[in-house]
Symmetry: C3
Subunit: 267 residues, 3 copies
Amino acid sequence: VPKFPLVSLTTDFGFLDAYVGVMKGVILGIAPQARIVDISHDVEPQNLAQAAFLLQTAYRYFPAVTIHVGVVDPGVGTARRAIAVQASHGTFVGPDNGIFCAALADQGAIDRETGALLSGRAVALADERYWLQPVSRTFHGRDIFAPVAAHLARGADLASFGPAIATLETGVANPVRSEGGKLYGSIVHIDRFGNAISNLDPQLLGAAPVLEVAGLTIHGLAPNYQQGGIVALVGSSGLIEIAEANASAARTLGLGVGDPIVAKMEP
Amino acid sequence: VPKFPLVSLTTDFGFLDAYVGVMKGVILGIAPQARIVDISHDVEPQNLAQAAFLLQTAYRYFPAVTIHVGVVDPGVGTARRAIAVQASHGTFVGPDNGIFCAALADQGAIDRETGALLSGRAVALADERYWLQPVSRTFHGRDIFAPVAAHLARGADLASFGPAIATLETGVANPVRSEGGKLYGSIVHIDRFGNAISNLDPQLLGAAPVLEVAGLTIHGLAPNYQQGGIVALVGSSGLIEIAEANASAARTLGLGVGDPIVAKMEP
Amino acid sequence: VPKFPLVSLTTDFGFLDAYVGVMKGVILGIAPQARIVDISHDVEPQNLAQAAFLLQTAYRYFPAVTIHVGVVDPGVGTARRAIAVQASHGTFVGPDNGIFCAALADQGAIDRETGALLSGRAVALADERYWLQPVSRTFHGRDIFAPVAAHLARGADLASFGPAIATLETGVANPVRSEGGKLYGSIVHIDRFGNAISNLDPQLLGAAPVLEVAGLTIHGLAPNYQQGGIVALVGSSGLIEIAEANASAARTLGLGVGDPIVAKMEP
C-alpha cells in the first residue's frame, strides 16, 4: 500500500452538483491519506465511448498502483454488474458496461472483442459490507464505487469484494474496421480547442496516409499545429487527430463525436 | 486534530477566475497538511437557496470533523456577520446569511424557523489576528473565511475567533407549507441531467403520493430512472425529484429553481 | 524541501479533456507527497494576457515555496524556449512567452519592459533526463513542465534542469501608458460576475479619479458593490474594476478583454 494511494475519478456528473464532492468526502472518510485526481467530470451525460476514450488516454500517465473510478452509468439501479479489475497498470472500479474496456484492452488485460480477461484479476462487487448503507437506486458512485475504491486504497485485497469473473461487458467499443485497403474509424472526442480526435492508430497507417473526413481529403501528417489550415497529425493521445491552427477544426468542418474518418493505407 | 484535516469549499466563484485557487493557497499556507475538497463552485451567482441545498445534501457524507467553508455572499463589505458554527456533524465557516441553515437544521443544531442554536457552538468572527491583512471589501472568502478555516484545521478552538452567538440568520429558507391535506414545496435545484430536485421529504408523503408540478399530475413514485416518461422518485439526496429517462425533465417541463410542487398527502 | 510541496496549475486546457488530470498523474507519480492546486484551467484558448493576469493576482497568496506551472502555449512544438524561474515569491515553470512576466515584474524579479532578470535565477529547460519520453509535439505540459515541476517539488536544484538565462521574453504585456495627464489602460479580465478588471493601479490615481470606459464617465471610487448602478472600485485583485451590483457590468456596457479604460490623474 503506497503512503499516499492515488484515486482518479472520471464521471459525467459535472461540477454544477455536489455529486463529485460527495464521492470525495466518502473516499477521504474511509481512506484519509488517499490523493484524489479528477480526470474529467464533463463527459457528455451517458456517453460511454467518450469516457472510455478519456480513461484510455489518461491511465498510462498515472502510477500503476492508481485506482481509477469511472462512473458513466445509464444502467444504475438495474441489473448491470458493478466490478473492480486489477490490471498491470491500474485498478479500475465502476459499472460493467464497457467504460474500462479501451484502457484494459490497450494494456492487454482483456480481449477487445469478447471482453475475456487475459491477465490480472476481476471481481463482481457483491460484499455489501464495503458499501454505504442504505444503497440508493440512483447514485452507486457514492454508495458503492467510492467506498470500494477507498477500501482498495487502504489495502483491502480485490478478492474481498466479491466473486471472480472471467469476462467483462465490452459495451460500446469503437473498433476500427479494415476493408479494401482502407481503415474505417470514427471521431471519439472533440477537445477544448476543437481538435477532433479519432480512433485511428498512426502505427497502422505508414508515414504519409491519405485521410478522408467531413468531405475533405488530407494528404500526409503535419509535424505540429502551426502550418496553417486543416491538418492531420499525431496528437498527444497517440492517435490521429484533425486540427486547425488557432481555430476549431471541429467547428470549421462541422465534426462531432461518432463521425466517420477513413484512412487509405499505404501499400 | 486529524492528521489530514478536511476542508470543503462551496462558492459561487466558478473556475473562470483565480478566486478558488487563491483560497486554497491561503489555506495550505497556514495548514499545509489540510485536504481540500470542492463541493461546488458553480452555484448560480448569489443564489443562497441553491448553496444551502448543496451543503445540506453533501455534509453528511463527509467525516464529522470536516470544516465546511461556504461563500455565497451578496452582503460582502456590508454589516452582515461572519460566523463559524461547530455542530455534531461538521464545522461551518462563512457569512451569516442562511447558507448553512438547511445543513444545521437537518442535524438538529438550529431551529429552522428562528435560527436559534439548539446544540453545538457558534461564534461571530471578530478576532482580526486570524485574518489576512488588509481585509478587502469584496473578497472575505480569501481574507477571512479561508484563514479561519485553516486555523480551525490546525486545531484552534472555536472560541478563539470571536464571541459566542445564540441565533443565526435563517435568510432564505425553503420551508414546506402544509395546508388542507396538501404539502406545498418548491424546486431547489436542477442537476446536470435536468432532474428537478424538490424540498419535499418522501417520509411525509407515504408510499403512493400524488404530485402536481408544472401542470402535470404524477401518481406514485418510480423505483428508478428507467421506466420511461416523466417520473417522480426519491433521488440520491433523499428528497423527491422529477426525472425523465435519458432526457432533461427540467427542459421538458420548463422547470426552474423556485417553481412550486404540490403533494397530496395520503390519508 | 517542504513536507507537502505545493504545485499550482494555470492552463487553457479546460476540464472537458483529460489533459489536466494527466498532468496531475505525472506529477504525483514523481512526487507523491506534492499538493496540487488549480488556479484556473478556463483561460481562453491561447489568451496569454489573461493567464498572466490570473497568475499575477494569485501567486502572492500562495506560500513563497510554491511551484507555479503555467501552460498557455500557442508556440508548442516550435522553437520557443521552456523555462523555470525561481523568484523570491514562487518558482515558475512553463513556456518562455510572457505568461509569468506580470507575476515576476510585480515582485521585482524582472524588468517589465526588457524582461531582464533582476533577482532570483532562471534556466532554459534542456536536460531531457527530467522529461517524459518520448516528448510529444503538442503537449509539453505533460511531457516537460509537469515532470520538471515534480522534480523541483522533490528538491532538485534549479541548475539541474538547464543553462542559466538572463532575459525572458516579455511577450504580451499590458503596459499602462501615461500621456497628457491621463493613464491609458485596458480591461485584462472579465470575472464570473461580469466585473471588468483593468490593469490600472489605484495607487497611481489618487482618491477620486475620473474614469472613462465604454463611453461612460465614472467619478470616484465606490466602497463596495452595493451602491447601485455601474461603479468603479478597487477589486480584490488590488486593481481598478468596473462593477454593477447584482448584475454584469461587462454585459451592461458590452465590455470585453482588451477594451480601453482611461483615467484622468488628479493634479
